[in-house]
Amino acid sequence: MSGFDKVVNTYAEALDGLQDGMTIIAGGFGLCGIPEGCIARIREMGVRDLTIISNNCGVDDFGLGLLLEGRQIKKMVSSYVGENAIFEQQFLDGELEVELTPQGTLAEKMRAGGAGIPAFYTATGYGTPVGEGKEVREFNGRNYILEEAVTGDFAIVKGWKADRYGNVIYRHTAQNFNPMAATAGRITVVEVEEIVEPGKLEPGTIHTPGIYVNRLIQGEFEKRIEQRTLTE
Protein backbone atom coordinates (compact mmCIF):
# COMPACT_ATOMS: atom_id res chain seq x y z
CA MET A 1 0.00 0.00 0.00
CA SER A 2 2.98 2.20 0.80
CA GLY A 3 3.22 5.84 -0.13
CA PHE A 4 -0.26 6.18 -1.59
CA ASP A 5 -2.13 4.97 1.46
CA LYS A 6 -3.73 8.18 2.72
CA VAL A 7 -5.62 6.65 5.65
CA VAL A 8 -5.13 8.10 9.12
CA ASN A 9 -6.85 6.69 12.17
CA THR A 10 -7.60 9.73 14.27
CA TYR A 11 -8.86 13.23 13.63
CA ALA A 12 -5.85 14.43 15.62
CA GLU A 13 -3.59 13.05 12.90
CA ALA A 14 -5.94 14.26 10.20
CA LEU A 15 -5.62 17.88 11.36
CA ASP A 16 -2.07 17.77 12.65
CA GLY A 17 -0.35 21.06 11.84
CA LEU A 18 -3.44 23.24 11.90
CA GLN A 19 -2.55 26.47 13.68
CA ASP A 20 -3.97 29.80 14.75
CA GLY A 21 -4.48 32.23 11.90
CA MET A 22 -4.66 29.65 9.15
CA THR A 23 -7.11 29.56 6.26
CA ILE A 24 -9.42 26.57 5.89
CA ILE A 25 -11.51 25.76 2.84
CA ALA A 26 -14.53 23.69 3.80
CA GLY A 27 -16.87 21.67 1.60
CA GLY A 28 -20.60 21.48 2.22
CA PHE A 29 -23.79 23.33 1.39
CA GLY A 30 -25.93 24.23 4.38
CA LEU A 31 -25.58 21.19 6.63
CA CYS A 32 -25.40 18.82 3.66
CA GLY A 33 -22.09 17.12 2.98
CA ILE A 34 -20.15 18.90 5.71
CA PRO A 35 -16.96 17.49 7.29
CA GLU A 36 -18.51 16.94 10.70
CA GLY A 37 -15.57 15.18 12.27
CA CYS A 38 -13.00 17.74 11.18
CA ILE A 39 -15.15 20.57 12.49
CA ALA A 40 -15.55 18.79 15.85
CA ARG A 41 -11.80 18.26 16.07
CA ILE A 42 -11.03 21.90 15.20
CA ARG A 43 -13.43 22.94 17.97
CA GLU A 44 -11.59 20.63 20.35
CA MET A 45 -8.16 21.91 19.26
CA GLY A 46 -9.25 25.44 20.06
CA VAL A 47 -7.21 27.04 17.26
CA ARG A 48 -8.25 30.65 16.75
CA ASP A 49 -8.25 33.51 14.27
CA LEU A 50 -9.22 31.18 11.47
CA THR A 51 -10.28 32.34 8.04
CA ILE A 52 -12.92 29.94 6.77
CA ILE A 53 -13.91 29.78 3.13
CA SER A 54 -17.19 27.92 2.92
CA ASN A 55 -20.51 28.57 1.20
CA ASN A 56 -22.34 28.73 4.56
CA CYS A 57 -21.48 28.80 8.23
CA GLY A 58 -23.69 26.09 9.70
CA VAL A 59 -26.29 26.69 12.40
CA ASP A 60 -25.83 27.70 16.01
CA ASP A 61 -25.08 24.29 17.43
CA PHE A 62 -23.96 22.32 14.38
CA GLY A 63 -21.54 22.51 11.50
CA LEU A 64 -19.23 25.50 11.30
CA GLY A 65 -21.50 27.21 13.83
CA LEU A 66 -19.56 25.23 16.45
CA LEU A 67 -16.43 27.21 15.60
CA LEU A 68 -18.34 30.46 15.99
CA GLU A 69 -19.47 29.23 19.38
CA GLY A 70 -15.79 28.69 20.21
CA ARG A 71 -14.95 32.20 18.94
CA GLN A 72 -12.41 30.61 16.63
CA ILE A 73 -13.31 32.34 13.37
CA LYS A 74 -11.84 35.70 12.45
CA LYS A 75 -13.22 35.87 8.94
CA MET A 76 -15.81 34.02 6.86
CA VAL A 77 -15.84 33.98 3.05
CA SER A 78 -19.31 32.76 2.12
CA SER A 79 -22.26 33.36 -0.16
CA TYR A 80 -24.98 33.02 2.47
CA VAL A 81 -24.74 33.13 6.25
CA GLY A 82 -28.31 33.60 7.26
CA GLU A 83 -29.11 30.68 9.53
CA ASN A 84 -27.11 31.57 12.56
CA ALA A 85 -27.82 33.82 15.58
CA ILE A 86 -24.28 33.59 17.00
CA PHE A 87 -22.98 34.64 13.60
CA GLU A 88 -25.22 37.68 13.63
CA GLN A 89 -24.13 38.65 17.11
CA GLN A 90 -20.40 38.32 16.44
CA PHE A 91 -20.76 40.18 13.18
CA LEU A 92 -22.66 43.05 14.78
CA ASP A 93 -20.11 43.16 17.61
CA GLY A 94 -17.32 43.52 15.04
CA GLU A 95 -15.65 40.29 16.18
CA LEU A 96 -16.26 38.57 12.87
CA GLU A 97 -15.31 39.77 9.44
CA VAL A 98 -17.45 38.60 6.51
CA GLU A 99 -16.60 38.62 2.82
CA LEU A 100 -19.75 37.85 0.89
CA THR A 101 -19.01 36.16 -2.42
CA PRO A 102 -21.56 35.00 -5.00
CA GLN A 103 -22.07 31.26 -4.84
CA GLY A 104 -20.88 30.49 -8.36
CA THR A 105 -17.92 32.82 -8.04
CA LEU A 106 -16.98 31.11 -4.76
CA ALA A 107 -17.11 27.67 -6.37
CA GLU A 108 -15.04 28.91 -9.30
CA LYS A 109 -12.50 30.64 -7.03
CA MET A 110 -11.90 27.35 -5.23
CA ARG A 111 -11.60 25.45 -8.50
CA ALA A 112 -9.21 28.08 -9.84
CA GLY A 113 -7.12 27.86 -6.68
CA GLY A 114 -6.68 24.15 -7.17
CA ALA A 115 -6.17 24.38 -10.91
CA GLY A 116 -3.35 26.94 -11.06
CA ILE A 117 -5.59 29.66 -12.47
CA PRO A 118 -4.75 32.75 -10.41
CA ALA A 119 -7.71 34.79 -11.62
CA PHE A 120 -10.61 34.80 -14.05
CA TYR A 121 -13.27 37.13 -15.37
CA THR A 122 -16.97 36.73 -14.65
CA ALA A 123 -20.08 38.80 -15.32
CA THR A 124 -21.40 37.84 -11.89
CA GLY A 125 -21.37 40.85 -9.60
CA TYR A 126 -20.59 43.44 -12.25
CA GLY A 127 -22.32 46.70 -11.33
CA THR A 128 -23.04 45.49 -7.79
CA PRO A 129 -21.25 45.97 -4.46
CA VAL A 130 -19.36 42.74 -5.20
CA GLY A 131 -17.70 44.40 -8.17
CA GLU A 132 -16.56 47.49 -6.26
CA GLY A 133 -12.80 47.93 -6.38
CA LYS A 134 -12.39 45.10 -8.85
CA GLU A 135 -11.07 45.48 -12.37
CA VAL A 136 -13.78 45.68 -15.02
CA ARG A 137 -13.02 44.54 -18.54
CA GLU A 138 -15.13 44.22 -21.66
CA PHE A 139 -15.14 41.07 -23.75
CA ASN A 140 -17.40 40.86 -26.80
CA GLY A 141 -19.36 43.91 -25.74
CA ARG A 142 -20.14 42.77 -22.22
CA ASN A 143 -18.60 43.84 -18.91
CA TYR A 144 -16.91 41.39 -16.56
CA ILE A 145 -15.05 41.69 -13.29
CA LEU A 146 -11.77 40.08 -12.31
CA GLU A 147 -11.97 37.54 -9.48
CA GLU A 148 -8.93 35.92 -7.89
CA ALA A 149 -8.47 32.30 -6.87
CA VAL A 150 -8.52 31.12 -3.25
CA THR A 151 -6.47 28.41 -1.59
CA GLY A 152 -6.30 27.15 1.96
CA ASP A 153 -3.66 25.93 4.37
CA PHE A 154 -6.10 23.11 4.94
CA ALA A 155 -9.13 21.88 3.03
CA ILE A 156 -11.71 19.83 4.92
CA VAL A 157 -13.94 17.67 2.80
CA LYS A 158 -16.78 15.20 3.29
CA GLY A 159 -16.97 12.25 0.88
CA TRP A 160 -19.10 9.14 0.69
CA LYS A 161 -16.71 6.38 -0.30
CA ALA A 162 -13.00 6.50 -0.89
CA ASP A 163 -10.32 3.96 -1.56
CA ARG A 164 -7.13 3.99 0.51
CA TYR A 165 -5.36 5.95 -2.26
CA GLY A 166 -7.74 8.83 -1.60
CA ASN A 167 -9.92 8.46 -4.68
CA VAL A 168 -13.25 9.87 -3.52
CA ILE A 169 -16.89 9.56 -4.57
CA TYR A 170 -19.58 11.88 -3.21
CA ARG A 171 -23.18 10.95 -2.64
CA HIS A 172 -26.07 12.85 -4.26
CA THR A 173 -26.12 16.59 -3.56
CA ALA A 174 -23.65 16.13 -0.71
CA GLN A 175 -21.14 16.63 -3.52
CA ASN A 176 -21.71 20.43 -3.71
CA PHE A 177 -18.50 22.36 -2.90
CA ASN A 178 -16.51 19.34 -1.77
CA PRO A 179 -14.70 18.48 -5.03
CA MET A 180 -13.38 22.02 -5.48
CA ALA A 181 -12.42 22.35 -1.82
CA ALA A 182 -10.47 19.11 -2.15
CA THR A 183 -8.26 20.61 -4.87
CA ALA A 184 -7.53 23.86 -3.07
CA GLY A 185 -5.95 22.86 0.23
CA ARG A 186 -2.20 22.76 0.81
CA ILE A 187 -3.19 19.85 3.04
CA THR A 188 -6.48 18.26 2.06
CA VAL A 189 -8.27 16.13 4.64
CA VAL A 190 -11.18 14.00 3.48
CA GLU A 191 -13.54 12.22 5.82
CA VAL A 192 -15.81 9.55 4.39
CA GLU A 193 -18.46 7.08 5.39
CA GLU A 194 -16.62 4.09 4.00
CA ILE A 195 -13.04 3.31 3.03
CA VAL A 196 -12.57 0.55 0.47
CA GLU A 197 -9.55 -1.12 -1.09
CA PRO A 198 -8.07 0.35 -4.30
CA GLY A 199 -9.76 -1.14 -7.33
CA LYS A 200 -13.23 -1.15 -5.75
CA LEU A 201 -14.17 2.18 -7.31
CA GLU A 202 -14.60 2.34 -11.07
CA PRO A 203 -11.81 4.71 -12.33
CA GLY A 204 -14.16 6.75 -14.51
CA THR A 205 -16.65 7.43 -11.70
CA ILE A 206 -14.19 8.96 -9.25
CA HIS A 207 -15.07 12.55 -8.44
CA THR A 208 -11.84 13.49 -6.65
CA PRO A 209 -8.68 11.69 -7.77
CA GLY A 210 -6.33 10.75 -4.93
CA ILE A 211 -3.63 13.16 -6.07
CA TYR A 212 -5.54 15.93 -4.32
CA VAL A 213 -5.95 14.09 -1.03
CA ASN A 214 -3.33 14.08 1.72
CA ARG A 215 -5.19 12.47 4.60
CA LEU A 216 -8.23 10.24 4.61
CA ILE A 217 -10.29 9.19 7.62
CA GLN A 218 -13.42 7.15 8.13
CA GLY A 219 -15.92 9.07 10.23
CA GLU A 220 -19.40 8.84 11.66
CA PHE A 221 -21.96 11.36 10.59
CA GLU A 222 -25.09 12.77 12.17
CA LYS A 223 -26.20 14.26 8.83
CA ARG A 224 -28.58 16.69 10.41
CA ILE A 225 -31.34 17.94 8.12
CA GLU A 226 -31.75 21.71 8.02
CA GLN A 227 -35.19 21.83 6.42
CA ARG A 228 -37.11 18.62 6.59
CA THR A 229 -39.70 19.02 3.85
CA LEU A 230 -41.97 16.09 3.07
CA THR A 231 -44.54 15.52 0.37
CA GLU A 232 -48.07 15.89 1.67
Partner: protein, 218 residues
Protein backbone atom coordinates in the same frame (compact mmCIF):
# COMPACT_ATOMS: atom_id res chain seq x y z
CA UNK B 1 -58.08 42.80 -8.62
CA UNK B 2 -54.41 42.20 -7.94
CA UNK B 3 -53.18 38.69 -8.71
CA UNK B 4 -52.74 36.22 -5.91
CA UNK B 5 -49.34 34.59 -5.46
CA UNK B 6 -50.75 31.52 -7.21
CA UNK B 7 -51.96 33.60 -10.14
CA UNK B 8 -48.59 35.29 -10.45
CA UNK B 9 -47.00 31.84 -10.63
CA UNK B 10 -49.59 30.79 -13.22
CA UNK B 11 -48.77 33.84 -15.36
CA UNK B 12 -45.05 33.10 -15.14
CA UNK B 13 -45.72 29.48 -16.08
CA UNK B 14 -47.04 30.65 -19.46
CA UNK B 15 -43.45 31.53 -20.35
CA UNK B 16 -42.42 27.87 -20.02
CA UNK B 17 -41.74 25.83 -23.13
CA UNK B 18 -41.49 22.09 -23.56
CA UNK B 19 -37.96 20.95 -22.86
CA UNK B 20 -36.93 24.02 -20.84
CA UNK B 21 -34.32 23.74 -18.12
CA UNK B 22 -35.55 26.11 -15.44
CA UNK B 23 -34.16 27.56 -12.24
CA UNK B 24 -36.82 28.73 -9.80
CA UNK B 25 -35.94 30.98 -6.88
CA UNK B 26 -37.46 30.87 -3.42
CA UNK B 27 -41.03 32.14 -2.81
CA UNK B 28 -43.47 32.74 -5.66
CA UNK B 29 -41.00 31.37 -8.24
CA UNK B 30 -41.11 27.98 -6.50
CA UNK B 31 -44.89 27.87 -7.05
CA UNK B 32 -44.38 28.02 -10.82
CA UNK B 33 -43.55 24.31 -10.76
CA UNK B 34 -47.18 23.63 -9.85
CA UNK B 35 -48.48 25.21 -13.05
CA UNK B 36 -46.50 23.54 -15.81
CA UNK B 37 -49.03 23.27 -18.68
CA UNK B 38 -50.43 19.84 -19.50
CA UNK B 39 -48.35 17.86 -21.99
CA UNK B 40 -45.27 19.99 -21.38
CA UNK B 41 -42.16 18.95 -19.52
CA UNK B 42 -39.61 21.17 -17.85
CA UNK B 43 -36.61 20.15 -15.81
CA UNK B 44 -35.73 22.02 -12.65
CA UNK B 45 -32.14 23.03 -11.93
CA UNK B 46 -31.13 23.48 -8.32
CA UNK B 47 -27.91 25.47 -8.12
CA UNK B 48 -26.29 23.42 -5.38
CA UNK B 49 -25.82 20.75 -8.05
CA UNK B 50 -28.96 18.96 -9.20
CA UNK B 51 -30.57 18.96 -12.63
CA UNK B 52 -33.95 17.22 -12.54
CA UNK B 53 -35.25 18.17 -9.10
CA UNK B 54 -38.37 16.26 -8.10
CA UNK B 55 -41.01 16.80 -5.42
CA UNK B 56 -40.42 16.66 -1.67
CA UNK B 57 -39.74 13.10 -0.48
CA UNK B 58 -41.97 10.73 1.43
CA UNK B 59 -40.78 9.62 4.86
CA UNK B 60 -39.23 6.58 3.19
CA UNK B 61 -37.46 8.63 0.53
CA UNK B 62 -36.16 11.26 2.95
CA UNK B 63 -32.38 11.58 2.53
CA UNK B 64 -30.13 14.19 4.16
CA UNK B 65 -27.84 13.98 1.12
CA UNK B 66 -30.56 15.10 -1.28
CA UNK B 67 -31.43 18.76 -0.86
CA UNK B 68 -32.20 21.75 -3.06
CA UNK B 69 -30.73 25.23 -3.11
CA UNK B 70 -33.21 26.25 -0.40
CA UNK B 71 -31.74 23.47 1.77
CA UNK B 72 -35.05 21.59 1.66
CA UNK B 73 -35.08 17.84 1.30
CA UNK B 74 -36.12 16.88 -2.23
CA UNK B 75 -36.05 13.98 -4.65
CA UNK B 76 -34.47 13.57 -8.09
CA UNK B 77 -36.58 12.67 -11.10
CA UNK B 78 -35.82 9.83 -13.48
CA UNK B 79 -33.07 11.08 -15.78
CA UNK B 80 -31.64 13.56 -13.30
CA UNK B 81 -27.95 14.34 -13.03
CA UNK B 82 -26.02 15.44 -9.97
CA UNK B 83 -22.74 17.36 -10.01
CA UNK B 84 -20.53 19.82 -8.16
CA UNK B 85 -21.45 23.43 -7.46
CA UNK B 86 -18.69 24.53 -9.87
CA UNK B 87 -20.32 22.50 -12.64
CA UNK B 88 -23.73 23.81 -11.63
CA UNK B 89 -22.65 27.42 -11.94
CA UNK B 90 -20.79 26.65 -15.16
CA UNK B 91 -24.25 25.77 -16.51
CA UNK B 92 -25.80 28.88 -15.04
CA UNK B 93 -23.08 31.37 -15.89
CA UNK B 94 -22.59 29.78 -19.30
CA UNK B 95 -26.19 30.53 -20.24
CA UNK B 96 -27.36 26.93 -20.52
CA UNK B 97 -30.42 27.35 -18.28
CA UNK B 98 -33.38 28.33 -20.47
CA UNK B 99 -35.38 30.27 -17.91
CA UNK B 100 -34.67 31.74 -14.49
CA UNK B 101 -37.46 33.01 -12.26
CA UNK B 102 -36.67 35.01 -9.17
CA UNK B 103 -38.06 37.57 -6.77
CA UNK B 104 -36.77 41.10 -6.23
CA UNK B 105 -37.10 44.22 -4.09
CA UNK B 106 -36.77 46.58 -7.05
CA UNK B 107 -36.15 46.70 -10.79
CA UNK B 108 -35.51 49.74 -12.92
CA UNK B 109 -35.85 50.93 -16.51
CA UNK B 110 -32.25 49.91 -17.27
CA UNK B 111 -33.01 46.31 -16.36
CA UNK B 112 -31.12 46.56 -13.09
CA UNK B 113 -32.31 44.40 -10.24
CA UNK B 114 -31.95 44.74 -6.46
CA UNK B 115 -32.91 41.65 -4.53
CA UNK B 116 -30.40 40.79 -1.85
CA UNK B 117 -29.49 43.62 0.47
CA UNK B 118 -31.22 46.37 2.37
CA UNK B 119 -28.68 48.73 3.92
CA UNK B 120 -29.13 48.96 7.65
CA UNK B 121 -30.62 45.51 7.81
CA UNK B 122 -28.43 42.50 8.45
CA UNK B 123 -27.09 41.15 5.21
CA UNK B 124 -27.37 37.39 4.88
CA UNK B 125 -25.74 37.11 1.50
CA UNK B 126 -26.54 36.87 -2.17
CA UNK B 127 -26.26 33.09 -2.46
CA UNK B 128 -26.48 32.23 -6.14
CA UNK B 129 -28.68 35.17 -7.16
CA UNK B 130 -25.91 37.27 -8.73
CA UNK B 131 -24.72 34.32 -10.81
CA UNK B 132 -28.27 33.55 -11.89
CA UNK B 133 -29.05 37.06 -13.11
CA UNK B 134 -25.65 37.45 -14.77
CA UNK B 135 -25.81 34.08 -16.52
CA UNK B 136 -29.33 33.87 -17.87
CA UNK B 137 -30.57 35.41 -21.11
CA UNK B 138 -34.13 34.74 -20.13
CA UNK B 139 -35.11 35.90 -16.66
CA UNK B 140 -38.51 36.65 -15.19
CA UNK B 141 -38.71 38.72 -12.05
CA UNK B 142 -41.84 38.21 -10.04
CA UNK B 143 -42.77 40.53 -7.18
CA UNK B 144 -45.56 42.80 -6.03
CA UNK B 145 -45.81 45.97 -8.09
CA UNK B 146 -45.54 48.19 -5.04
CA UNK B 147 -44.69 47.80 -1.36
CA UNK B 148 -47.39 47.52 1.27
CA UNK B 149 -47.04 51.25 1.87
CA UNK B 150 -47.63 51.87 -1.83
CA UNK B 151 -44.07 52.66 -2.91
CA UNK B 152 -43.39 51.51 -6.47
CA UNK B 153 -40.86 48.74 -7.04
CA UNK B 154 -40.54 49.60 -10.75
CA UNK B 155 -38.19 52.54 -10.59
CA UNK B 156 -36.32 54.98 -12.79
CA UNK B 157 -33.23 53.79 -10.92
CA UNK B 158 -32.84 51.15 -8.23
CA UNK B 159 -32.21 52.65 -4.81
CA UNK B 160 -30.89 49.47 -3.18
CA UNK B 161 -27.55 47.81 -3.93
CA UNK B 162 -27.82 45.83 -7.15
CA UNK B 163 -27.86 42.09 -7.67
CA UNK B 164 -27.16 42.57 -11.36
CA UNK B 165 -26.93 45.34 -13.94
CA UNK B 166 -28.95 45.51 -17.14
CA UNK B 167 -30.05 41.90 -17.06
CA UNK B 168 -33.84 42.01 -16.51
CA UNK B 169 -36.29 42.21 -19.41
CA UNK B 170 -39.48 40.62 -18.03
CA UNK B 171 -41.41 41.35 -14.84
CA UNK B 172 -44.59 39.71 -13.61
CA UNK B 173 -46.17 41.68 -10.78
CA UNK B 174 -49.50 41.30 -9.04
CA UNK B 175 -50.84 44.05 -11.34
CA UNK B 176 -49.20 43.55 -14.69
CA UNK B 177 -46.78 41.90 -17.05
CA UNK B 178 -44.12 44.41 -17.98
CA UNK B 179 -41.14 44.22 -20.32
CA UNK B 180 -38.00 46.31 -20.05
CA UNK B 181 -36.27 47.59 -23.16
CA UNK B 182 -34.51 50.73 -24.38
CA UNK B 183 -34.51 52.28 -20.92
CA UNK B 184 -38.28 52.05 -20.46
CA UNK B 185 -40.94 49.81 -18.99
CA UNK B 186 -43.39 48.50 -21.59
CA UNK B 187 -46.81 47.57 -20.25
CA UNK B 188 -47.88 44.35 -21.97
CA UNK B 189 -50.73 42.87 -19.93
CA UNK B 190 -52.76 43.83 -16.91
CA UNK B 191 -54.26 41.74 -14.16
CA UNK B 192 -58.02 41.14 -14.53
CA UNK B 193 -59.93 44.17 -13.35
CA UNK B 194 -56.84 46.29 -12.72
CA UNK B 195 -56.88 49.58 -14.59
CA UNK B 196 -54.03 50.94 -16.64
CA UNK B 197 -54.24 54.06 -14.47
CA UNK B 198 -53.59 52.08 -11.33
CA UNK B 199 -50.58 50.39 -12.91
CA UNK B 200 -49.17 53.64 -14.20
CA UNK B 201 -49.68 55.33 -10.85
CA UNK B 202 -47.77 52.56 -9.14
CA UNK B 203 -44.91 52.58 -11.66
CA UNK B 204 -42.27 55.17 -10.81
CA UNK B 205 -40.09 54.56 -13.86
CA UNK B 206 -41.07 55.72 -17.36
CA UNK B 207 -43.63 53.34 -18.81
CA UNK B 208 -44.81 52.99 -22.37
CA UNK B 209 -48.53 52.19 -22.48
CA UNK B 210 -50.04 50.92 -25.73
CA UNK B 211 -53.54 51.95 -26.77
CA UNK B 212 -54.92 48.59 -25.83
CA UNK B 213 -53.60 46.60 -22.89
CA UNK B 214 -54.94 43.07 -22.81
CA UNK B 215 -56.20 41.52 -19.61
CA UNK B 216 -54.63 38.29 -18.40
CA UNK B 217 -57.06 35.40 -18.48
CA UNK B 218 -57.06 32.69 -15.81
Amino acid sequence: MALSRQQMAMRVARELRDGYYVNLGIGIPTLVANYVPEGMEVMLQSENGLLGMGPFPTEEQLDADMINAGKQTVTAITGASIFSSAESFAMIRGGHVDLTVLGAFEVDVQGNIASWMIPGKLVKGMGGAMDLVAGADNIIVTMTHASKSGASKLLPECTLPLTGAGCIHKVVTDLAYVEINDGKFWLKERAPGVSVDEIVSKTAGEMVVPEVVGEMGF
